[in-house]
């Protein structure tokens, strides 16, 4: 689609400009990069480690590594900044997971973690919002979400477990998730 490719072009141009500015020593560009990618890197770290505390530290580590690489002009294809960030995050997180496995074997203590109070407040507010919304759902809707999102069951499996039609499960699940994402969006706009 014409509109979609236009969006992609703007994104790539923005990435090139940002990377060039960082290479040129523009400190405000570094802040911009951190603000643009911090949340995405954090989600990746949470998904891969399943540990929020570790994910916070890893997000910082990834962003520092990216800034150092960009300052040193190590990114050859500037338009592929997002892919570069994803690759860096993946490598650093994989190294962490290997070390964590080794540390668990050696039974070493885990060091204390620092938490950004603004991030923590935002996290708690989102958590409250989701809990409040979830409590308004029927038991069946909560069960559908639990079986699919946490237990990893397919729609067909959920339908079989609850003795419901596939379409009914899909519709109820979509409606519930849409409600949560809308609430999330309204919180971000505040």
């Amino acid at each position: 689609m014409e509109g979609e490719s236009a969006v992609v072009t703007v994104t790539n141009e923005a990435e090139v400009t940002l990377a060039e500015r960082i290479r040129a020593g523009d400190r405000s560009a570094e802040d911009e990069l951190v603000n643009t990618y911090r949340r995405g890197v954090f989600v990746i770290a949470v998904a891969r480690t399943r540990d929020r505390e570790a994910a916070r530290d890893l997000t910082q580590e990834v962003l520092i590594a990216i800034l150092e690489a960009l300052r040193g002009g190590q990114l050859r294809e500037l338009a592929k900044l997002s892919a570069f960030i994803q690759g860096t995050a993946r490598n650093i997180i994989n190294n962490y997971l290997r070390m964590r496995a080794h540390r668990a074997e050696c039974e070493l203590d885990i060091e204390a973690h620092s938490t950004d109070p603004v991030d923590e407040l935002e996290f708690l507010e989102r958590r409250r919002l989701v809990r409040r919304e979830l409590e308004t759902f029927s038991v069946t809707d909560q069960q559908i979400l639990l079986l699919s999102l946490v237990d990893g069951q397919s729609l067909a499996e959920v339908a079989r477990t609850l003795n419901m039609s596939h379409d009914a499960v899909r519709a109820r699940k979509s409606r519930a998730i849409r409600k949560i994402t809308k609430k999330f969006a309204s919180l971000s706009q505040k």
Partner: protein, 86 residues
């Protein structure tokens, strides 16, 4: 990856459940780094998933209560009566 594909294929859920192959997982991660709207939706799914995991015992208990046509205590009483009759 396009935004529509992410939603149509329920990739966020599969991502958090570790059900994506490595190439799709990489594409998915690049996309959420590029697209603030999809990132927000994925964050919502993550928050929902965490909340559900916390409430899982309660939800399972509630659904058992609601779905059970033959409550446990009645079944126990019936079995006990049968044993006595023998």
């Amino acid at each position: 990856m396009e935004c529509q594909e992410l939603h149509r294929s329920e990739l966020a859920e599969k991502y958090f459940n570790g059900q994506l192959d490595p190439a799709t997982r990489d594409d998915f991660e690049v996309h959420i780094l590029e697209c603030p709207q999809c990132l927000q939706d994925v964050e919502a799914v993550l928050a929902l998933r965490e909340q559900l995991a916390d409430r899982a015992p309660q939800i399972r208990a509630d659904s058992q209560m609601e779905g059970s046509q033959f409550p446990g205590h009645l079944i126990s009483a019936a079995l006990s009566l049968l044993r006595k009759l023998r």
